[in-house]
């Protein structure tokens, strides 16, 4: 019996210690930003770490920090544990956050459920289809944000800009990523409408990536396209090694994916997305009601090429094809990403 009591006690001590160390370093964070009690508290919550999501977060943090407003920013990351999202958001609510910025679809949906009835404004970032995600209905007066949807026509235009005689496009995506799936679905619908041939392969996890890429290549595609897919973005080297060995260019949905080895993108400029989300948050800080701010789509798409990648699959595109594209990675490998 003594042992049972000691176990319970040690568990309680563990919990109390954890909670206690949570309390103490918080106060300096608050007082560092001007020391006023009524600083506006903003929490940014992301589901996992990877280049694009981190870029959105960092841009929002920088933009809000430079705004001159008295804002305390708190960033949280669920590290891929979906059950942690609502736990993190509940902590934000308990700490009395004034505005929350959830990044990606399920984070925004969890935020809606957790902050239901509190009136706390929610500014989502990087949700492809806010209506389908349930973020635009009548119960969403406090919810607005920035969608990262890319028009399908733009994607196909990107491929035909470099390869006017492309016969067949290969689409590769992770089937569990809402954003990636909806981008590919729209692209396929556009291809059907325009009578462009395509092949598609979806993966459930990263271990299938190489096989999936090789399957598409074996089906004779002339170009590969992957949208803003968080999973594939984390393994661009595997993907591009397989494609470039076969001389097939890889087009993708994010500049970070081009920086990591993709050939060209018209896609979400995550810095631009972060800026728009931060601008919306600032309008709400200054007193605009979220209800008066309809959700936005990107006002500017990013067009980038990677010349080192072009060398790897032996590109021989005319100079004119590169007009309007920023060089993200030079032929010698010098990267301008994030500069």
């Amino acid at each position: 019996m003594n042992k049972l009591i000691s176990v319970i006690l040690s568990a309680m001590i563990l919990t109390t210690t954890l909670t206690a160390c949570g309390g103490s370093p918080k106060t300096p964070t608050g007082s560092a930003n001007g020391g006023e009690k009524d600083a506006y508290k903003i929490s940014i919550v992301q589901p996992m770490s990877h280049t694009s999501l981190d870029q959105i977060r960092d841009t929002i943090v920088a933009e809000l920090g430079n705004s001159g407003e008295n804002i305390v920013i708190d960033t949280k990351n669920a590290n891929g544990d979906s059950t942690a999202l609502s736990t993190i958001l509940e902590n934000c609510k308990a700490e009395g956050v004034d505005l929350v910025i959830p990044i990606a679809t399920s984070t925004a949906q969890s935020a809606k459920a957790v902050f239901d009835g509190t009136g706390t404004p929610i500014v989502f970032a990087a949700v492809s289809d806010p209506a389908a995600a349930g973020l635009t209905g009548e119960d969403c007066q406090n919810i607005t944000g920035v969608s990262n949807n890319i028009p399908a026509a733009e994607i196909v235009k990107l491929i035909f800009n470099f390869q006017p005689d492309c016969q067949k496009i290969g689409f590769l995506y992770t089937s569990s990523e809402a954003n990636s799936v909806s981008t590919i679905a729209a692209a396929k619908a556009y291809c059907d409408q325009e009578h462009i041939a395509y092949e598609e392969v979806s993966i459930a996890n990263l271990s299938e990536l190489q096989t999936a890429a090789e399957t598409l290549i074996s089906r004779g595609v002339d170009a590969l396209y992957t949208g803003n897919d968080n999973t594939i973005a984390s393994a661009m080297a595997t993907y591009t090694d397989a494609a470039y060995a076969a001389g097939i260019p890889v087009y993708c949905g994010a500049d970070s994916m081009v920086a990591d080895g993709g050939f060209a993108t018209i896609g979400v400029n995550y810095v631009q997305l972060g800026r728009q989300a931060a601008a919306m948050a600032l309008k709400i800080v200054e007193g605009t009601a979220p209800d008066d701010l309809p959700y936005e789509t990107l006002s500017d798409y990013a067009k980038f090429v990677n010349l080192q990648a072009a060398g790897r699959f032996g590109a021989s595109f005319p100079e004119s094809a590169y007009e309007g594209y920023d060089v993200l990675v030079e032929a010698d490998g010098t990267s301008h990403f994030g500069k």
Partner: protein, 317 residues
């Protein structure tokens, strides 16, 4: 008050995941075979529940969710008993196959919000939130304005009722003839086969029951958070095992009913500790390691207790 609402939230989450812990308890402790179907059947319960909820039947959706889990369990048991596939492999195979099933149930997408298309008073098409059991339950409290009875507390109350009824029903079931047959199969399958009990049938029933509980957990979570997502099943088994083991460490080995109650208790304690861990002002990526350490510590406690007991005896002698 801040801590009150956080505690209520953590407990409500703990209760939502409690049926899953009960399911893991049945396979891990009663049938004594780890069942890895959990990661898939949790999401299956969630997606089946989402589809039926959107069709407008929130209560039926919970039963359909549980039935979906039972179906998943049936296939796992089929692999185990008829094809004599290793239990661990059967679970992995069924969970992997369920990915496609779940994807299809969600209509070829990875995320489904509980809403339906309708027309508003002005005649233009709008999306309306689908009714859920939690929404209907909250409506009962519309006149009550107490800070102690906020949305989280309402979720806690309803889930508590469900979990208490469930635990009681399971407690009774495991003393009926079929329940005893499942327990006997876990304890000594050879002996069961030698007697007149059909061990394969008992094992199948046990795995189906366990997975229907896991799926019910997914269904409840789906209605509470109002969306289904394919990624929600990741690391479910680890969470379930952690709950069962923490429960066992804290409340001891106390037979079948005690075991069921301590699995629920373990789920509550686990969510409270995780909530506290995220509350701590340290980088959130450290929580993963922390939660692993918690599980490892819980696993090590029985051994440490035994060692302490034996050295204690040695010193006394």
């Amino acid at each position: 008050m801040v801590y009150y609402s956080m505690l209520v939230f953590a407990l409500s989450q703990g209760l939502l995941y409690a049926p899953m812990a009960l399911g893991v308890f049945i396979t891990f402790r009663i049938l004594k075979t780890p069942d890895l179907t959990v990661d898939g059947s949790f999401v299956f319960g969630m997606t089946a529940c989402a589809a039926v909820t959107i069709a407008g039947h929130p209560v039926l959706a919970l039963f359909v969710g549980a039935a979906a889990g039972a179906l998943a369990g049936f296939f796992t048991a089929l692999l185990q008993t008829r094809l004599e596939v290793e239990p661990i492999l059967s679970g992995i195979l069924v969970a992997a196959g369920l990915y496609t099933v779940n994807y299809t149930v969600l209509g070829g997408q990875s995320n489904l919000y509980l809403q339906y298309d309708t027309v508003n008073a002005a005649g233009s098409p709008v999306k309306e939130a689908s009714p859920t059991v939690y929404k209907s339950f909250s409506a009962l409290f519309s006149g009550v304005d107490s800070p102690f009875l906020d949305g989280n507390a309402q979720v806690l109350l309803l889930t508590l009722v469900i979990v208490v009824l469930l635990t009681a029903a399971l407690g009774v079931f495991f003393f009926t003839r079929p329940g005893m047959a499942i327990r006997a199969t876990g304890d000594n399958e050879e002996m069961v086969r030698a007697s007149s009990i059909n061990a394969d049938l008992a094992r199948t029933a046990g795995v189906m029951l366990a997975n229907s509980l896991v799926a019910l957990s997914g269904a409840l979570l789906c209605q509470q958070q109002r969306y289904a997502d394919l990624n929600c099943g990741s690391s479910m088994l680890v969470m379930g095992l952690a709950s069962v083991i923490i429960g066992q460490v804290l409340f001891g080995d106390r037979g079948i009913v005690g075991g069921l109650i301590s699995a629920v208790g373990g789920s509550l304690v686990y969510r409270v500790v995780i909530q506290a861990a995220y509350k701590v002002n340290m980088p959130s990526y450290t929580v993963k390691l922390l939660s692993t350490l918690i599980v490892v510590c819980a696993l090590a406690v029985p051994l440490i207790k035994r060692k302490l007991a034996s050295t204690g005896k040695g010193a006394a002698a």
